[in-house]
Symmetry: C2
């Protein structure tokens, strides 16, 4: 029998603290600004839609933050997640590199998203909140929050981008099975939605619009808060359980990655995997961190570092981030989770300061990588995760040329069971590399607030 | 922090032998008969469509059969699978019982089916076979064989029941992502298919018809064999890895089940989980084994023990089994994997001899149990597996009444990510308890050969 594929941790070995990279960053990003006053926001500005437990985490400079026992109890339903050695993929690529992947698809929602959904539901629950609202595009985040709310007995209302609501009825059914209400956005339930529908009754919706609706809904009801699945500091914080486990697992396997690769949409998946390794990098350890984005929505590689809104209508605070402009409408690629104009401010600062590299890859290339991976390793990846696979394969092929025995780690953030129409299109040769329009990008960047 | 949810085994602790219950059964079932001569079949009769490695296992009386290293290597991609303690479900039910479930949904195909698919692909590969054919209904088995063939470099052709082909395009896409060719059945590629299409050009297909087509295709080409996903002895044998692991895990947890519960379609899922526990039962240990079938297809509770064909057209050997008649067409329940007229002869004999109990449950009840389970434990179960959940919950509720602290084990044979249209129907109140017609059952039983 050959060597093992999986590095496992027991439930007792699961980390009990999140890592807050704000304690160690050489430079912190400029603070969020109030959308009206353009002054730095304080905790009180956020209290209308977030519980104090999360606001404190958003602003904390403490290096380690204890994970509450009730959150650990839920995490342990599927955590620690496995770290895989992709031995079959290595053989197929004939590479001397060692390829590892951290697999978050074992969560009941099928992705890394429950790591923060469970924490957010918990802090809202103990603050006396009865109901959470959120947005979802492809549905990964909405499923995760629905699951978390069912665990903590909260109502959950998900504004789902209308085109996804219609094209992905199964994701909607999954959220409903967990007890959530799912509303196609734009809807007539909010002023933001009504305004957009008045202009364009057939509007297909966008993540930015759905955020506007969910925020407005939450702000209007005292028993209701809003929950965001990425971008914010506390979301990235909760996801560090992924990288902390991976570090434990590498220690068990007696090795350490030369390069850590993750896909970026709002940035929380990448941050969760990478931040614990960056802590070592701050302390002088040599480790590369590579963020992979779609060429169709190239926030880091083509965006501008500036203050911008997180949503379309302009209800959110202004965040200092790489952005394509909050009016940027990315082409309809199948990696819906990566179609976001902005990016986590913490990650943007780290990119600017040279701790993180970025690369953009095209849609047909990521599906080719995904199919190669599935036929070797078995797991069918989410299109989002396939961005990381593509770059990991490229790194491994470069090692074949150079003879280097690099240790490569990538994040397999979720499975692709709800993305099979995209695979169908790819396998039937119907998938194309869709490009954004340069004029539209220029127009969008020109409207930065 | 409360106690652990999961009992895990390392890859090194995975069993390396399958358990062959034929060595220990008080009575073996009568042998399969040749469909034409009605004489017991010999190895040579099966050699046209099966490799000798599998034929030997089909007829073996050896108690333990070594799992080949190449098969273990693939198993270890996802095995050993977790044994879960359903602590949240127990609390919700307020039961003193301890509920455990063995979760096979962690396989890349999402069910227990790859346990035999991988073994079958391997034995065909070493016999020099280049291509496998099979049938699939809901798609669990077709996905598993597609996956296994991609691991061993075999071509795979799947005859998929036409109504599922059209209603479940995502299952088809998954098989194609693994490199398989998927053909809606009945098709014009086989005499069996052409004959049925000539009579009924709009025929929606059935598992029995698809088996006929796959067998005919395999018999016609020397480089091609046929692969069956359940019913046969060697299939049940391969699935015993599930129960063997579970026994190791119960030993680790320092406990033992009072009752083991599984759903039955063709019987391999149930056999795989239960046979290793029946070995103890033969040796005097007290353990109940409960087979759960749909009221819409009640093979054990309403069928007749007799010789019958495994397929519709009558190409297969005659198997001695409980059967509803090979012409029985079960109503269109959503647990497609349980819509089969017959059942594994080994399991039928054990039922007849009193080692196994059987119970039939209705469709709306199993979905209610599935949703309750998902909201407590997170995992959305396959409708097939939900049959076992329903009976496990009933057992736990009986313990609440009696105060007994029973240890309950059920098999969670797969996840329900490809069954969300069924959940959608259930949650929307559109799902009904469909009944078979008593006249049709009588007619079908009257045609037993």
């Amino acid at each position: 029998m050959s060597e093992e594929y999986k590095v496992l941790l027991s439930e007792k070995e699961m980390p009990t603290r999140w890592y807050n990279i704000q304690a160690d960053m050489p430079h912190l990003p400029p603070p969020p600004l109030h959308p009206a006053t353009k002054q730095p926001i304080g905790p009180e500005d956020l209290a209308a839609i977030f519980p104090m437990g999360l606001i404190e985490q958003e602003m904390s400079r403490e290096r380690w933050i204890d994970i509450p026992g009730e959150v650990l109890d839920v995490y342990r339903l599927w955590r620690p997640t496995p770290l895989y050695r992709a031995r079959r993929l290595e053989k197929a690529l004939e590479t001397p590199a060692a390829i590892y992947y951290k697999y978050e698809g074992v969560s009941p929602a099928g992705s890394h998203k429950p790591n923060t959904a469970v924490a957010q539901a918990y802090y809202n629950k103990i603050a006396g909140i009865k109901r959470l609202t959120t947005e979802t595009g492809a549905g990964q985040w909405g499923s995760a929050l629905s699951l978390a709310c069912s665990f903590f007995g909260l109502e959950c209302t998900v504004y789902m981008v209308r085109v996804s609501y219609e094209q992905k009825p199964y994701r909607r059914s999954l959220m409903e099975a967990y007890g959530a209400s799912v509303i196609p956005s734009p809807s007539s339930r909010t002023a933001a939605g009504r305004e957009i529908l008045a202009r364009d009754p057939d509007c297909l919706g966008s993540l930015g619009i759905a955020i506007s609706e969910a925020v407005e809904d939450a702000a209007a009801r005292p028993d209701t808060n809003y929950s965001l699945g990425s971008v914010l500091n506390h979301v990235c914080l909760h996801q560090t359980i992924v990288g902390l486990e991976a570090k434990e697992q590498f220690a068990k396997a007696n090795t350490y990655p030369d390069v850590v690769i993750g896909c970026v949409g709002g940035g929380s998946n990448f941050s969760g995997l990478v931040f614990p390794f960056l802590q070592d990098k701050f302390n002088g350890r040599k480790v590369r961190a590579v963020a992979v984005e779609p060429t169709a929505c190239p926030t880091l590689t083509r965006g501008r570092l500036a203050y911008d809104f997180g949503d379309t209508v302009g209800l959110t605070p202004l965040l200092h981030m790489y952005t394509l402009g909050h009016n940027f409408m990315p082409p309809g690629i199948h990696a819906g989770g990566l179609r976001y104009h902005g990016l986590a401010p913490l990650l943007c600062q780290l990119y600017r300061d040279g701790y993180v590299e970025a690369v953009a890859v095209a849609q047909t290339d990521i599906f080719a990588a995904a199919v190669l991976f599935a036929r070797q390793e078995g797991i069918l990846p989410a299109p989002e995760s396939a961005h990381a696979i593509k770059v990991a394969i490229d790194e491994a092929l470069a090692c074949r040329e150079s003879g280097e025995k690099k240790v490569i780690l990538f994040g397999l953030s979720g499975h692709g069971h709800f993305d099979l129409s995209a695979y169908d299109a790819y396998l039937a040769g119907r998938l194309e590399d869709v490009a954004y329009s340069e004029e539209e990008l220029a127009r969008s960047l020109a409207t930065l607030p």
